[in-house]
Every structure is written in C-alpha cells, then in structure tokens.
C-alpha cells in the first residue's frame, strides 16, 4: 500500500518537476540573454493562464486558440517589461540590486492587475487531451500529465535548436556573450534583449497553461512559482538552460518526498530550504563547467 502511494507521489512529483523545469528554463533564458534574474517570471505563467481562461471561458473561443492567445500575451508582456522597465534602467546604469527590486515590484503590480481583472478566486482549465487516465505500473495519472512531460521536452528541444541553428537565436547568444562584438557586426543588442524577454515570457506562458489544469492559477502565486523555477535553474546551473530540466526534476521529486514524509504544508518549506542550500553549497549548479560564471 505504502509502496503504491510512494509510486503515485513520485509520478506526480516528476510531473511537477517538468513544470518547475519550464519556469526555470524561462528564467535561465532571460539570465543567459541579459544577466538579469527576473523575479516576475512566475507572473508570465499567471498571465498566460489567466488570458487563456478568459478567452476560453468568457469569450467562448476554442481551447487551442485561447492557449495560443494566452501564450502570446505572456510573450508580449515579456517584451513590454523589457522595453518599459529594463531598458530605461540599464540606460540609467541601475545596479543589479535595483533591477531585481524593480522586477519584484512588477510581481506586485502584475498580481494587482490580475486581482482587479479576475478577483481572488483560483481558476482551472480543462486538462489538455481530455480526462483520460494513463496507467504507469500501479499508479494512475491523467493524460494531461503525459502532455506536460512531452511539451516540456519539446520546448527544450526547440530551444536548443533555436539557439544553435537559427540566425535570430545565434544573434541573441552573441548579443549577450559579447555586446560590443555583436554591435560591431551589426546586431541590435537592445532589440535582442527584448526578444530574450519575449522568449522568457513565451516559455513562462506555456508553463502557466500547462500547470493550470493541475494546480490552478490565482493572482498571488507569482513569486512562489518564480522561486521554484529559481531553485530548478540554480541547481541546473544558471547559464545552462538545459540544466534547468534536471534541476526541476530533482526539486519536484524532493517536494513529492517531503509531502510523503511530512504533509503537504511543508512542500514549500522543503523546496525553499533546498534552494538556499543549493545556492550556498553549489552556486554553479550540478553540472559545473570549466567557465565559472553565474555564481
């Protein structure tokens, strides 16, 4: 009996892990492209999910169309955030601390907008792929969970290909790794940073749409989501977006174990404790590369 429960908990922990991985991936993409930790990353997820909810439940649009609109809205929010907030701050040579503080302020602001628009309630979306169940050994899970895993892996693969093979992706890498060099070969560095934030928003929006059928969405969730993503991405190594997937899975499993051993109230305590320990003990993540960056 207990073994079955453990399997069930492990499977749901892995599903959550892929969600944290996606949030972490968004954070890592923004960090890679701008050396900024975006405390409002979790709010991309909220905005993506809430916009999807509004279009599918209030406007009555088909689910898939609403998802596309929701994810696009999160991407646009990312672009807007860069243009309206990050760019002027960089121009005024603001410190690392004040930029982080500004993104913390943005969390509050976006949360307030969501609160005013939809209120305090938690919203859910129908599971993608219907209510069907899938059997894994003795554990059952929704088909939605399988789609979460598949979507996360797809995003990872698409991102890797984007950075490696497309002109835009390579320009974005160039703009962040050597801004002066990038300017000299005609790359618009601020524009690349805007694209970086849009990409962060896009990935965040996808994560939001995927999480909402499982845990729902409400206005104040942003910072908790961000912090779990931070835990995933720091564990995986900040400059290595793919590491976030491994980090997310470890965090998801650790949480599941904590719920199994104590109770669900200690889920956040364990994750945040783990985050602190990871940052102190392994600031470069699990996969330390020769270049020491990101610590």
């Amino acid at each position: 009996m207990s073994g079955e429960l453990l399997l069930q908990v492990t499977v749901s922990g892995l599903t959550n892990g892929f969600l944290y991985a996606l949030i972490g991936l968004g954070l890592a993409v923004v960090y890679k492209g701008s050396a900024i930790i975006n405390a409002a990353q979790g709010d991309f997820a909220i905005v993506g999910a809430i916009v999807t909810v509004l279009f599918t439940q209030s406007a009555g649009m088909p689910y898939w169309v609403s998802i596309v609109i929701g994810v696009m809205a999160a991407a646009l929010l990312g672009g807007l955030m860069e243009v309206a907030c990050i760019r002027p701050m960089l121009r005024l040579k603001a410190s690392e601390e004040s930029i982080l503080l500004a993104t913390v302020g943005l969390t509050f602001l976006i949360g307030a907008v969501v609160l005013v628009v939809v209120g305090k309630a938690a919203y859910f979306l129908p599971p993608i792929g219907g209510e069907a169940q899938v059997q894994v050994g003795s554990a059952t899970l929704q088909r939605h969970a399988v789609i979460v895993v598949a979507a996360a892996l797809l995003v990872v693969a698409a991102l890797a290909a984007f950075y490696k093979y497309t002109h835009l992706g390579r320009s974005m890498v160039a703009a962040s790794s050597d801004a002066d060099g990038a300017v000299s070969i005609g790359i618009n560095v601020p524009l690349m940073r805007t694209f970086t934030f849009m990409l962060g928003g896009l990935i965040g929006g996808i994560a939001g749409v995927l999480q909402t059928p499982l845990i729902g969405v409400s206005f104040a969730m942003g910072i908790a989501i961000t912090l779990k993503g931070v835990a995933a991405t720091v564990l995986g190594g900040l400059v290595n977006p793919m590491g976030a997937v491994a980090g997310g899975l470890i965090i998801g499993l650790a949480e599941a174990l904590a719920v199994f051993l104590f109770n669900s109230g200690y889920q956040n305590v364990v994750t945040m404790g783990l985050l602190i320990v990871i940052m102190i003990a392994m600031p470069n993540g699990l996969f330390v590369t020769a270049r020491r960056r990101g610590g």
Partner: protein, 326 residues
C-alpha cells in the same frame, strides 16, 4: 560624468558633509512637526501615522542593510512576525508584561538572524536577495503550519495594550507618543553608526569589497552584525504592531508587507539612513489616498513603486538634490 568616476563612498561622504548645516535644522523641524501632528490631525490620521512609525522602524533596518552595505533583505517580514508572535504569546498565553514579549522577540529574532545570516551572507547580489526571499517564504509558511503556536489563519486576539510604569498606551494618541520616540531614537542611533567609522567601513565594503578587506574591514562579521541589527528592528516593530492592533494572524505577514518594508527606504532614497522616515509616511498615506478607487488602488500603488525605482534611483530625498547633481 566626472562625478561618476569618484568612488561611491567618497560621493556619499561629501554629500553628508555638504548638508551637515541643514541637517540639524531638518531634524529639529521633523521632530517638532511630528510632536505637533496629533494635536492638529484627526484620530484617523494619527492612526495612520502610528502605522507609519512601525513601518519606519522595520524599514530602517532593511534600508540600512541595502543603503550602507548593499544587502537586499526581503525576509524582514519574518522577523516582524517573530516579534509579533512573541509578544502575542507572552502576553496572551503566559499573561506576562508586554516588555518581556518585546525582549523575547528581540532575542529570538537576533539569534535566528545570526544563525541564518552566517551561511546566507556568504552570498551576494541576486543570490542573496533570492535566498532572503526563500527564507521569508519558509518562515511565513511555518507561521501557517505551526498553528499550535501562532493560531494559523485564525490568529491570536486579545493582545493587551502595552503599559510602562503603570501608564497604559491605550489610545492612538498615546501610542503615537510611545511609538514615534522609539522610532526617532532608532533612526538617531543608526545614523550615528552610519556617520562613524563603522559606516565608512560599510560603504567601503559595499563599493569595493576587496579593497575593504585589505583595509582590515572584516566583511563577514560586519555584514552579520548589520543583518542581526536589522532583524532586531523588524522584531521591535512587529511587537509594537501586535500591541497596537491587538490581533494578529498569518494575513499580517505577507510578501506584500515585506515589499512595502523595503520600499519605504527605497522610495525615500536608500543611501540616506533617514530615508525610511519620509518613505514610511508616504507609503502609509498613499493607500489611504487611493482607497476610494477600490481594488484599482493596488495597481496604482504597484505602478507607483515600479516607477519610483526606475525613475528616481535617489528616492524622494534625492529629488531635492537632483538638479544640483545634473
């Protein structure tokens, strides 16, 4: 442009000496207007000013950390909560005087800040800020889970008004004349620290850690001491809050609270230790001014916070010097 070539600590030093004449006057004017305010204002505004005093005390702690040592502390609401729950527990469950609750809160907060600060303060920049945020999430979650101690979401009510030497501070007016002198005393002590040799060491550490180490500044010890000091101020503020409102629950200790605490000095202009004072008054009155708008006030409030961070890195106190610097 030439000013920006100077090390920040030198600029901060010259800024404080340049205004030393006007500063005493500003201080006297502040004290006089604060002393006279309750006589002129209605009880409602006196009440807001009491909350401003509480915010100023906890904001002073985080503002001092950020402005003098470059440490973002987003965990202040945790220490605020520890102070509040210590007071509630000592006065309600044990039926002992409020002063003991305040002291117990200070002792627990200081010890906790020391134990957490030693490992956490090895981090810097982004990681330190995120670690304090994680610490805040842990502590507020524990407030929620340990309902045998904190009452959870039901909270603890019936906290008596604080009394000293047979004098009970049971009206907003009386509490005002209790809280503000404490606040001003804290400000006076910390601005003295900032003006003295420790302040110089802190700013040197903030602007050039390696150079400060060479000049025999023990950064780890100094940062830890400051973190503990900030936690003590947070705890005092929390204890006073518990006495003033008489009822506390987990709803009082949220992310929003911790953001407001760090925004008070940031809005005031964080490099000046006194910045939390105008910032706290501003932040206490702003929601009140915007509240007729309903929930929309939260959007304007958030927008205002973000705009101030982006446009006025020097804060409200900096606006006066703005033309001069340009």
């Amino acid at each position: 442009m030439d000013r920006s070539l100077l090390p920040d600590s030198v600029r901060a030093g010259s800024a404080s000496t340049r205004h030393s004449g006007g500063r005493g006057l500003a201080l006297v004017l502040t004290c006089v207007s604060l002393a006279a305010a309750p006589l002129l204002l209605s009880v409602h505004y006196v009440d807001l000013l009491v909350f401003a005093a509480l915010l100023a005390i906890s904001g002073l702690g985080v503002g001092f950390l950020l402005g003098q040592a470059g440490i973002i502390n987003l965990a202040q609401v945790a220490f605020y909560g520890i102070g509040a729950y210590a007071t509630a527990h000592v006065t309600v469950a044990w039926n002992l005087p409020g002063l003991l609750g305040l002291l117990l809160g200070v002792v627990i907060s200081a010890a906790f800040a020391l134990v957490m600060g030693l490992p956490l303060l090895r981090l810097s920049g982004h990681f330190l800020a995120l670690a304090t945020l994680a610490l805040m999430v842990i502590v507020t979650q524990l407030f929620f889970e340990w309902d045998w101690l904190t009452g959870g979401s039901l909270g603890i009510g019936g906290i008596p008004k604080i009394s000293l030497f047979g004098w009970t501070f049971d009206t907003p007016m009386k509490f005002y004349y209790f809280a503000w002198p404490i606040a001003l005393l804290c400000f006076w002590m910390l601005s003295n620290i900032a003006d003295g040799r420790p302040g110089l060491a802190m700013r040197a550490m903030r602007d050039s850690p390696e150079a400060a180490e060479v000049m025999a500044v023990d950064s780890t010890a100094l940062r830890t001491k400051l973190f503990v000091l900030s936690a003590i101020l947070g705890s005092i503020s929390g204890s006073l809050f518990a006495h003033y409102v008489g009822y506390i629950s987990v709803e009082s200790f949220t992310l929003e609270r911790t953001i407001v605490m760090i925004m008070a000095p940031v809005i005031g202009g964080v490099r000046n230790p006194w910045s939390a004072l105008p910032g706290a008054i501003f932040l206490s009155f702003l929601p009140e001014l915007l509240s007729p708008l309903g929930e929309v006030y939260r959007i304007l409030f958030g927008l205002g916070l973000v705009l101030v961070i982006i446009l006025f890195p020097q804060g409200l106190l900096g606006i006066a010097n703005w033309r001069r610097v340009k």
